[in-house]
C-alpha cells in the first residue's frame, strides 16, 4: 500500500467512523426520548401486579379500589404538579411466575415510575431480584401488601419502602396478647409457601421471646378454596391441644379452617393477620354460620395494620369513606383484567363498600402522593428513596406518626398493629383490656 492509498483509506475510515458516531448518537437520543422514567408532561405512571382473579382476587381488587379512590380525588384536583397519577395494573393470580412476567412488562414496556401496591409474599419474593438486576434504572417497589421481611432486610431492602407493619410485628403482637392471658400453647395454621413461612417465623420468634415454642402446626396449599375440607389440618392441631391458634393464610382457607375447627369442637381463640382479607373472610363465615345455625365469628381476632375504617373520628377514615362512595363506579380494575362483572352472574366479584384492604390501598396512595409532591416538578426514580427519607412524623389522618429514615435508616413507615373482633356482623376494635375475657380458665 503506497502513501496515497493509505491516505485514502484513512479518510474513508474517518468518514465511516463519523457516520457511525452520528448514527449512534441519534439512536441514543431516540432511546432517551422514549425512556421517560415513568414521568411525562401529563402523567406519572405507577405499576401494580396483584391477584385480580383467582382465590385471592378480593385482596388485589380491593387494594386497587382503595388506591384508585384516592388517586381519582387527587387527579380530579389537578394531579401532582399538573400530572395525573396513573396506575397500570396486571393480574398475577397470586402466582409468582405471572408476577415476574408482569414486572418485566411494567419495567420494560410500560416504563413505570415505580412498582406499587404489589400483593403477596410469594409473588414479591420472586420479583425482587428484578429490581436488583435493573438497579441502574433505579426502580423501587413501594408499599407492597405483605409483611414479609424479604424486602425489609438485605439484600433487597434498598429496593423497597414499606408503609405497613411486618408480619413479625403482627404475629409477635398476637403472641404477646395470648401469652398475657395465659394461652401459652399456641399452634399455627399456615399457607404452605413463603407467606405462610414468614408468619410462622414471626410466631416462632414471638414465642421464643417468652421462652416458648410452637405447640403444633398444619399447612394448606396456596389457592385451596373455602369449599375444601380442612379436617386433616384441624385433626393435626387438635392433637397438639392448643390454647390458641394463629392463622397465616388467605380468607378462603382461613374461613374454611375456622368453620371445620368449630365443627370438630376446637373452640380456642383463633387469630388471623392483616393479609387475610378480613371482610371477605367474614362474609364466608357469616354465610356458613347461617347455613349451619352456628356463630363462626366468635373467639376470632384479626390483627390489622391500619385503624378501623369505622372510626369516623379519624380524618383519613372520613376522607376514605367519602372517596369510596364518590368514585365507587370508577375504581374497579379494567374489565380486560378481571372480566366483565355482572352482579347476578355466578363467580362475579362483588366489591365491598369499605374494608381494611381498600383502606390500606387508600393510605398507600396517600403516602405515595406525599412523596411525589415532595419531589417537586421533576421527579425521578433515583430520587424516591432520598425524598421518602425526609418524611418524619407524618400523620396521614390516622393519628399515627409515620417516619422513614432516622438513625436506623428505617424503610418501614408504620409499626402499629391494631386488633379487631367481629361484633354485630362487622369488625370492630378490640382493645388491650378486652383480651382479658379470653383468659385461659
Amino acid at each position: 500500500m503506497d502513501c496515497c492509498q493509505w491516505g485514502k483509506g484513512l479518510v474513508a475510515a474517518t468518514l465511516l467512523a463519523a457516520a457511525l458516531a452520528t448514527l449512534t448518537g441519534a439512536a441514543t437520543a431516540a432511546g432517551q426520548a422514549t425512556e421517560t422514567g415513568g414521568v411525562t408532561d401529563t402523567e406519572i405512571r405507577l405499576g401494580m401486579s396483584a391477584a385480580l382473579t383467582g382465590n385471592a382476587r378480593g385482596l388485589g381488587i380491593e387494594l386497587y379500589r382503595g388506591t384508585m379512590a384516592y388517586l381519582e380525588s387527587v387527579n380530579a384536583a389537578g394531579g401532582v404538579n399538573g400530572r395525573r397519577i396513573v396506575l397500570k395494573a396486571y393480574d398475577d393470580r397470586y402466582e409468582p411466575e405471572p408476577a415476574i412476567r408482569n414486572t418485566v412488562r411494567l419495567m420494560k414496556d410500560d416504563d413505570v415510575f415505580a412498582l406499587f401496591d404489589y400483593v403477596g409474599t410469594p409473588t414479591m419474593n420472586r420479583t425482587l431480584p428484578l429490581l436488583r438486576k435493573y438497579r441502574s434504572r433505579h426502580f423501587m417497589l413501594l408499599f407492597p401488601f405483605t409483611g414479609a421481611n424479604t424486602n425489609r432486610i438485605p439484600p433487597y431492602n434498598e429496593f423497597s419502602l414499606n408503609m405497613r407493619a411486618s408480619y413479625a410485628e403482627e404475629t409477635g403482637s398476637l403472641v404477646d396478647h395470648f401469652v398475657a392471658i395465659g394461652r401459652t400453647r399456641i399452634a399455627v395454621f399456615y399457607q404452605g409457601d413463603s407467606y405462610g413461612r414468614a408468619g410462622w417465623a414471626g410466631v416462632r420468634a414471638g414465642l421464643a421471646r417468652h421462652g416458648l415454642t410452637i405447640a403444633g402446626e398444619a399447612t394448606y396449599r396456596r389457592g385451596t378454596p373455602f369449599s375444601e375440607s380442612y379436617d386433616p389440618q384441624v385433626a393435626i392441631l387438635q392433637e397438639a391441644s392448643p390454647d390458641a391458634i394463629i392463622c397465616i393464610g388467605a380468607y378462603g382457607a382461613c374461613a374454611g379452617f375456622i368453620r371445620d375447627s368449630r365443627a370438630r369442637g376446637l373452640d380456642v381463640p383463633i387469630g388471623t393477620i392483616s393479609f387475610v382479607g378480613s371482610e371477605a373472610m367474614l362474609d364466608l363465615l357469616t354465610a356458613a354460620g347461617e347455613t349451619t345455625g352456628t356463630d363462626l365469628t366468635s373467639r376470632l381476632v384479626s390483627s390489622q395494620v391500619v385503624p378501623s375504617y369505622h372510626d369516623a373520628t379519624l380524618s383519613a377514615v372520613r376522607e376514605y369513606l367519602a372517596a369510596m362512595l364518590r368514585y365507587r363506579d370508577r375504581i374497579m380494575p379494567p374489565a380486560e383484567l378481571i372480566g366483565a362483572q355482572d352482579e347476578d352472574a355466578p363467580g362475579s366479584y362483588q366489591p365491598l363498600a369499605f374494608g381494611f384492604t381498600s383502606f390500606e390501598g387508600f393510605l398507600n396512595a396517600k403516602l405515595m402522593v406525599e412523596i411525589l409532591r415532595r419531589m417537586g416538578p421533576d421527579p425521578t426514580r433515583a430520587d424516591i428513596t432520598r425524598t421518602a427519607m425526609t418524611i418524619h412524623d407524618l400523620d396521614l389522618g390516622t393519628g399515627e406518626k409515620l417516619s422513614f429514615g432516622g438513625a436506623d435508616n428505617a424503610r418501614q413507615a408504620s409499626h402499629k398493629v391494631y386488633f379487631t373482633i367481629v361484633r354485630d356482623g362487622r369488625f370492630v376494635p378490640f382493645n388491650d383490656a378486652d383480651w382479658a375475657q379470653w383468659a385461659k380458665p
Binding site: 404452605g192 413461612r197 417465623a201 402446626e217 389440618q233
Partner: protein, 237 residues
C-alpha cells in the same frame, strides 16, 4: 395349512429357543435398568440436595425463612422430588413442603447423620430421602425426599418398552418361520399325495396332471424322488 411333522418339531424347538432368549434378555435388562436408573436417581438426588444446601446458606444463616421457603418450593416442581425440608443447626425444621403437616415418621427420626434414608410414610408412599449439610452442618441440613414410585415407574416404562419390542420381534419371527416352514412342507405334501395316487390311484387324492407334471419337472430332490416314484410305479411288478 399343514406343515410336515418333522418340521413341526424343528419349529417348536426354534420357538422355544427364541422364547428363552426373549425372557433372558428381558430379565438382564430389567436388572440392569433397575440398578442403573435407581443409582442415577439417588446420585442426582444427592447433587440436587448439595446444590440446594449450597444455594441457601445465606438465607438460612440470616434466618430469612420466607426466602428459604421460596427456594425449596421451586425444587418440589422437579419430577421425582416429593418433598423438601430444612433443619437448622438447633434441629428445628425451619422450612418444609408438607401439606397438611410434617409426617409423624419424619418428626420421629430426622436428626441422625445418615445421608440416605428409606422412608415409608403412611398414606403417602415410599421415598428415598437424601441429605446434604449446610456449611458442613454448622447451619443445618437439607433433606430431599425422592418418590420411589416415580423411580419404579421410570424403570417399568424403560423395561416395558424393551419387552414390548422383543415381543413384537418374537411374534414376527414365529410368523415368518411358520411361513418358511410351510413353503418347505408344501412340495413334500404334494409328493406324498402323488405317491399315494401312484400306489393306489382309486384311494389317493386326485392328482391333477398339471401338478404331476410340475413335480416331475422339478430339478431339486423333490423332483428326483417324484421321478423315482413314477418309475417304480410304472415298472411292471
Amino acid at each position: 395349512m399343514t406343515i410336515a411333522k418333522f418340521y413341526q418339531k424343528t419349529l417348536f424347538g426354534m420357538f422355544a429357543i427364541m422364547g428363552i432368549i426373549v425372557v433372558a434378555i428381558s430379565a438382564i435388562y430389567t436388572y440392569t435398568a433397575d440398578r442403573e436408573l435407581t443409582g442415577d436417581f439417588v446420585a442426582n438426588s444427592k447433587t440436587i440436595a448439595r446444590s440446594l444446601a449450597n444455594s441457601t446458606v445465606d438465607v438460612i444463616v440470616n434466618q430469612n425463612y420466607s426466602a428459604l421457603q421460596t427456594v425449596i418450593d421451586q425444587y418440589v416442581a422437579i419430577s421425582g422430588i416429593a418433598y423438601v425440608f430444612v433443619v437448622d443447626a438447633d434441629g428445628t425444621i425451619v422450612a418444609h413442603t408438607f401439606v397438611p403437616g410434617i409426617p409423624k415418621e419424619i418428626l420421629a427420626d430426622y436428626k441422625s447423620d445418615r445421608q440416605v434414608y428409606d422412608r415409608d410414610l403412611k398414606g403417602l408412599g415410599a421415598y428415598t430421602e437424601v441429605t446434604a449439610d449446610v456449611l458442613a452442618g454448622e447451619a443445618g441440613r437439607v433433606h430431599i425426599g425422592m418418590d420411589k414410585g416415580y423411580v419404579a415407574l421410570r424403570v417399568q416404562t424403560a423395561i416395558g418398552k424393551q419387552v414390548y419390542l422383543l415381543s413384537i420381534l418374537f411374534v414376527f419371527s414365529v410368523l415368518i418361520s411358520y411361513a418358511l416352514m410351510f413353503q418347505v412342507s408344501r412340495p413334500l405334501n404334494q409328493l406324498i399325495a402323488y405317491a399315494r395316487h401312484k400306489v393306489a390311484p382309486q384311494e389317493g387324492a386326485a392328482a391333477g396332471s398339471d401338478r404331476e407334471e410340475h413335480l416331475l419337472e422339478r430339478v431339486d430332490e423333490v423332483g428326483e424322488v417324484a421321478r423315482l416314484i413314477s418309475a417304480l410305479a410304472d415298472k411292471p411288478s
